[in-house]
């Protein structure tokens, strides 16, 4: 069996995207055969405004090393202002995450339109590189386990 050579660690990135813009932008990246790393898993939503902050928490809890939320550019929302509501919600949510000690590099936000296949490919490539540098997000689970005392120890464990 292949157990002799376990595959090297690869970042797991969950992306919550709006079906009108980023989802279609990712489709376009495929149609024109761009290349980007296979680390991202897209979850489709009708609008970035549908994204509940719990989705992000849930994704981290399930072992995601990073979460990406991507919606329409300002002014482009199919429902007129869903993306503004989303932006406001996530600005606040990020402050909460930061307060709780979540590394904000792990929870990122972007705007990718249906025409920006290239931007999507670049975004995923850059994010995958960044998360690969950061390593697996073990701190999150240690934090959740109530082990809030040993930040240093946790980091050492990560890079061990």
């Amino acid at each position: 069996m292949a157990e002799l050579n376990p595959p090297p660690w690869e970042p797991r990135i969950v992306a919550f995207v709006c079906k009108w813009c980023t989802y279609a932008g990712a489709d376009l990246a495929g149609t024109v055969r761009l290349r980007y790393p296979a680390n991202v898993r897209i979850v489709k939503l009708p609008c970035s405004g549908r994204i509940d902050c719990f989705f992000i928490v849930k994704a981290l809890e399930q072992g995601a090393d990073a979460v990406l939320v991507s919606g329409c550019h300002p002014g482009d929302c199919h429902y007129s202002d869903g993306n503004y509501h989303a932006r406001r919600r996530f600005r606040l949510f990020r402050r909460l995450l930061e307060f709780l000690g979540v590394d904000l590099r792990r929870v990122q936000f972007a705007c990718v339109s249906a025409a920006e296949g290239m931007k999507w490919a670049d975004l995923v490539s850059d994010l995958a590189d960044e998360v690969r540098q950061l390593g697996p997000y073990r701190e999150y689970h240690q934090m959740c386990a109530g082990d809030g005392t040993g930040d240093e120890r946790d980091r050492e464990a990560t890079h061990a």
Partner: protein, 616 residues
Amino acid sequence: MARIGLFVCRCGRNIAGTVDVAEVAGILAEHPGVVHAEEYTYMCSDPGQLKVAQTIADQHLTGVVVAACSPQLHERTFRIACEKGGLNPYMCEMANIREHCSWVHPEEPATTEKAIELTRVAVEKVKHSRPLTPIRIPVNRRVLVIGAGIAGIQVALDAARGGYDVVLVEREAYVGGHMAQLSATFPEMERSRFLLRPKLAQLLSHDNVWLLTNSEVVELTGFVGNFKATIKTRPSTDAEAGLDLADEVFPRGVERQRQESTVEVEVGAVVPAIGYDVYPLESIPEYGSGSIPNVLTSLQFEQLLRTSEGGELRRPSDGAVPREVVFIQCVRSRDREHGMPYCSRICCMYTAKQAMLYKQRVPDGQAYVFYIDIRAQGKDDEEFIRRAAEQYGVLYLRGRVSRIFPQDGKVVVWGADTLSGMNVEIPADAVVLALAMTPAHGALDVARLLGVGADDHGFLTEAHPKLRPVETSTAGIFLAGACQAPRDIGSCVAHASGAASKVLELFSARHLEREPEIAHIDEGICAGCFDCREVCPSRAIEVKEIRDRRGELLDTVATVNDGLCQGCGLCVATCRSGAADLEGYTDSQLFSQIEALSSRWTSTTSAEKPGGGHGG
């Protein structure tokens, strides 16, 4: 218990070239709830679709997952296939393993691993899907048209001839809009009112048309097929009543309103055809802000041309025949700093027309035109401009005019001829300004009232500039004419007939079917905070009173209007008590999708299953 059928598409080599399709089907065949898993060359082909329908019947499937291309392409195809097999079409999900996977990643285990995960996400989602039925909405087959210019008249006539009732609302006392004020059309040189008159006669004599002048729509509620409009009519003034005899465009037979009145009408569709205005001369200081005698707007000059037909054209200040007239194009058009950045599209043509009509009336006069570029793209337009220059001797000067000032009964024009590089000074008898076309005054109020979009300037916005040019983002509201963008009469009529055909399409059925992927609110959980109402972009959240048998108010909760909800899900993410949910994207579907992406599933070779910890 879920019985899910999985169909993995090879898409020739498009997917199978980089994804191990057999492994995807093989791994997922073992997934809880999956009772059938197979791969096939082209799932979207007829045999592929037949496989789906046949397997549903044979295996008594409760859900179907097709792992293939983007759902944007074939979700509908497979939903129809499911329906043919006897399964509710909304019990079908697609995993996008082509655009999002096989086309963007090389042939390696990680690509197949991703395809497996995406497919597992779809399987987990469909386990939490519910059968949905399209929403049926009755359609009131009467249309409200706002504005009785040429566009509004065309919509009203088309719809009335199609057999439907029309309520035509005009805020002025007369109908015909700007077209009634024009002298002639370009490039045909037909008298504008001669063209308009038979249209008006047909309109006013048509039994299906109810015309309300001096009237404005002050409120609109409801949704596609079921709007309710409140129309306010003001009493006509004595001057307006006098128009009755003087002006052929004032609709005879419409009784003079003596009192303010309000009427409510129920309609199924609304067409704003509110037209345009021109940039106010008062806001152009370098051209005198309207204080210099004989500096006229293009519309004022149209009136001079119209009333001087067969006679002599005389300037307004002293009744003298103007021997030299300067026309200035692009006044506040294509002017990012002080005016409108766009081209008003019609000014090059009507300026040439005005110069020619002037020359017909004053054959020994001289017409000058200051222009930036000549844009004559329409049919016969280029030839028309050439005629103005070559046959009528209109002198075209390429450049801007810096200043206009009165001197000894003349209007002195200072400009630059950029082709010769010389400064030009013309002591003119009259100056005509081709002012930018702007949205009609009050256009933004109409946009707000109807719940349709408007651009930075106030032109109402279409749903898609190429593919849906007369629809708006609000179902049942269509645009006609220059309220959407500057256009000429012919283009307005075409646009209006386009809007009318959309109305007729809507009215061709008594009921309307809508996608059922909309929000709903659990009244038992709703706390009545109405935060959802604050965020809803479709005004779809309504107040519902819950009363006991004696009529005592027990509770006030939020409820979703099926006809209005567009399914964005903002209310769901906003609701703090979890009362709101969105069909097709329910919380339970989404959380199960996220769980399906858990790192606990990652190993495709071991028997590791959820619940096995985080593996650290």
